[in-house]
Amino acid sequence: MAASSLQSLNPTFSQTLASPNTSPSFRSPFLRFNSSFTPKPLSTRSSSSLIARSAAEPQERKTFHGLCYVVGDNIDTDQIIPAEFLTLVPSNPDEYEKLGSYALIGLPASYKDRFVQPGEMKTKYSIIIGGENFGCGSSREHAPVCLGAAGAKAVVAQSYARIFFRNSVATGEVYPLDSEVRVCDECKTGDVATVELREGDSVLINHTTGKEYKLKPIGDAGPVIDAGGIFAYARKAGMIPSAAA
């Protein structure tokens, strides 16, 4: 489904990919999926040596491994990043880091384990497990940004609010994944887990409980995530030129 929607957008997709990628050399803090990004000439999709950004290799497995942080339903953007911290501008590298230190600081005191320890800048949890309607509330991009800045790699939730999901995809900060069951009821904060992304068959493996959970295919967002965000996707689709003006 993802491939066909991309195809309908631009039937000359493979031809577009053949042109060399001359993206600017600025190493954005947002290009998180491959920290050693070096522009390489784009080849056609069937080739095995694809674009350097590892998010854009659909045939390969993508794996996140680490500790889980479990939250409940309707975790809104004010709990993810309270409004008082929105004066920090995410495109400013120093303020980007500061945003990470405040990730999930708005959670009520009933959450005894804090996502980021007081005084720390990064989290020790790389996988966030959520319930229904994760990320509801504001359209503030600071929400997925602060999670990514803190060091989270993926969110596995039962369902998402649309703006949060969209912002996660557009920025590439965290992978927003859908579980088929209430994973938040079966995992505990501190469980060791692995998220394996595969073509059509992704899983969450909880090593502490030994249970495995199927994750839903990423759907229409797939091409955008695979490309590495909305700008890369638009360049691939021939919507905007490869080189910045």
Binding site: F26, D76, A83, T87, R162, R166, F231
Partner: protein, 510 residues
């Protein structure tokens, strides 16, 4: 036609991709314009009825033209297609992009990063920059963000920048407006049939004007700044038909809280909420804005109301830009149908800590409160203050708790001080508020709706109970994590201020 057919942005590849047809503009004018509410007048049920229609598949064969909803039509036109169905991912031309002080710096930062330091925006007259969130504060970063926007606007020659430089006296700033969603409407930027995006979730407010309006993040906004386009998935439409005469004690806020309580905070996720019916037709533009404002609280992608004489009258008094209204086809597909007999509804509140935690106001009369807040894009418009003043005047009493008044814009503030309240013998809102013992109406901005910097006026800095005309009550929304926020209409808020408890406005209005 408000939007140009071919984008003039230097960042959009000019030659259409091979295989894509160049669809002429004339094909859109043939689309049916039957007003949807014309078909609904025949059957008004006596009871409140919620009816869920079975999900109809929205597939269409290539050659047969299916009826489209308002939202589908607006997006089809903006994508230069003759037909779209829910689920289609399409590139859409944007008519207006709005941003403010909180997200503007980030959006422009991304724009420069991706398009280059010397890049120019796609259209300097289609971007509206409205500082409104953290204005009247000594927070240095907040103040810096307004300065950053000034620099960007200067560099890009942005036509609409509602700047503020003198924080000590908002009236000394001729350009400053206040809350972005109210300012957009008041300044004539909302027009039927158009696509309006904003870096704020309550951008959906503008759907009241019969346009597609939704909130986006900084990255999407940065993309739009450069290209004037955005990738959107066409949403299916849920239809809400509201019929019956609006009781004198009920307001649009009660209607939307009723609906959100019905379908939950995720009930409209990825969907359009289309409102029609005789009640909707009787609402003023400001009331329609309140209704569409909280669509996002149900998870909705956008809210939309068919434009009519009320709409045209409002819009034509504020802009001379031509527009083309659209209406849902009689044979359009809707994914759900809800009907309400409004004459049977009662004032409601949303209890802590969720906008869908609905309860009848009269059933919360034992809840003791500490303060009342009247303000924000949801409940800080001129008519919201008029309503509160009307109730205070009818009661002739003094408030029992601190009552904070935050007009949304300069214009609202001026109306509060200048306009006579109907039935009050010539008194203005401001006079009535003073007599009732409310706080003096403060400088217009988003204020404490979302907490804000520590020194924000009326911020909830203690675990208090607040009845508020704002839009969200999740933990910590107005500041303190243990603060208890009851969302309510201006009538309910005013009534509650007078008793010191959550109060049904009928206590004072009948």
């Amino acid at each position: 036609m408000a939007s140009s057919v071919i984008s003039s942005s230097p960042f959009v590849c000019k030659s259409p991709a091979k295989g894509q047809k160049d669809l002429g503009v004339s094909s859109f004018r043939k689309a049916s314009q039957i007003s949807i509410h014309g078909c609904q007048r025949k059957s008004i049920s006596r009871k409140i009825v919620s009816v869920m229609a079975p999900q109809r598949s929205s597939s269409t064969s290539g050659s047969v033209k299916t009826g489209m909803t308002m939202t589908e039509k607006i997006l089809a036109k903006a994508a230069e297609k003759s037909q779209v169905v829910p689920g289609d991912n399409i590139w859409v031309n944007v008519d207006v992009l709005m941003t403010h002080d909180v997200c503007g710096p980030g959006a422009f930062g991304i724009f420069k990063r991706e398009f280059g330091d010397n890049a120019k925006v796609w259209d300097s007259e289609k971007i509206v920059v409205i500082p409104d969130h953290y204005i009247f504060t000594s927070d240095k970063r907040a103040n810096r963000n307004v300065d950053i926007m000034r620099e960007h606007c200067r560099e890009q020659n942005i036509k609409y920048f509602y700047d503020i430089t003198d924080l000590g006296d908002f009236r000394a700033n001729p350009d400053y407006k206040g809350v972005c969603h109210v300012a957009l409407a008041q300044e004539g930027h909302c027009r039927p049939g158009e696509v309006l995006l904003g870096t704020d979730s309550h951008t959906c407010t503008a759907g009241a004007f019969g346009q597609f309006a939704t909130g986006i993040g900084n990255t999407d906004a940065g993309f739009v700044l450069g290209t004037g386009k955005i990738l959107l998935k066409v949403p299916p439409t849920m239809r809400f038909i509201l019929d019956g005469e609006m009781p004198s004690y009920l307001q649009a806020k009660d209607l939307i809280l009723q609906i959100i309580g019905e379908i939950s905070v995720a009930g409209a996720t990825y969907k359009t909420m289309e409102f029609s019916g005789t009640t909707i037709e009787s609402l003023t533009m400001e009331e329609r804005m309140t209704l569409c404002n909280m669509v996002v609280e149900a998870g909705g992608k956008n809210g939309v109301i068919p434009p009519d004489a009320t709409t045209f009258n409002y819009v034509e008094n504020r802009t001379s830009v031509p527009f083309q209204p659209v209406y849902s086809d009689a044979n359009a597909s809707f994914v759900a149908d809800y009907r309400f007999d409004v004459s049977k509804l009662e004032p409601v509140v949303a209890k802590p800590h969720s906008p869908d935690n609905r309860a009848l106001a009269r059933e919360c009369k034992d809840v003791k409160i500490d303060r009342v807040y009247i303000g924000s894009c949801t409940g800080g418009k001129t008519e919201d203050f008029m309503a509160a003043a009307k109730l205070f005047h009818a009661a002739g009493k003094q408030v029992k708790v601190p009552t904070f008044l935050v007009p949304a814009t300069q214009k609202v503030w001026m109306d509060v001080y200048a306009l006579p309240v109907p039935g009050a013998g010539g008194k203005t809102c401001a006079q009535i508020f003073e007599e009732a013992g409310c706080d003096t109406p403060t400088s217009p901005s988003c204020g404490a709706c979302l907490g804000g910097p520590a020194d924000t006026y009326a911020r909830l800095n203690e675990p208090q109970v607040c009845v508020s005309t704002t839009n969200r009550n999740f933990p910590g929304r107005m500041g303190h994590k243990e603060g208890q926020i009851y969302l309510a209409s201006p009538y309910t808020a005013a009534a509650s201020a007078l008793t010191g408890h959550v109060t049904d406005p009928r206590e004072f209005l009948q």
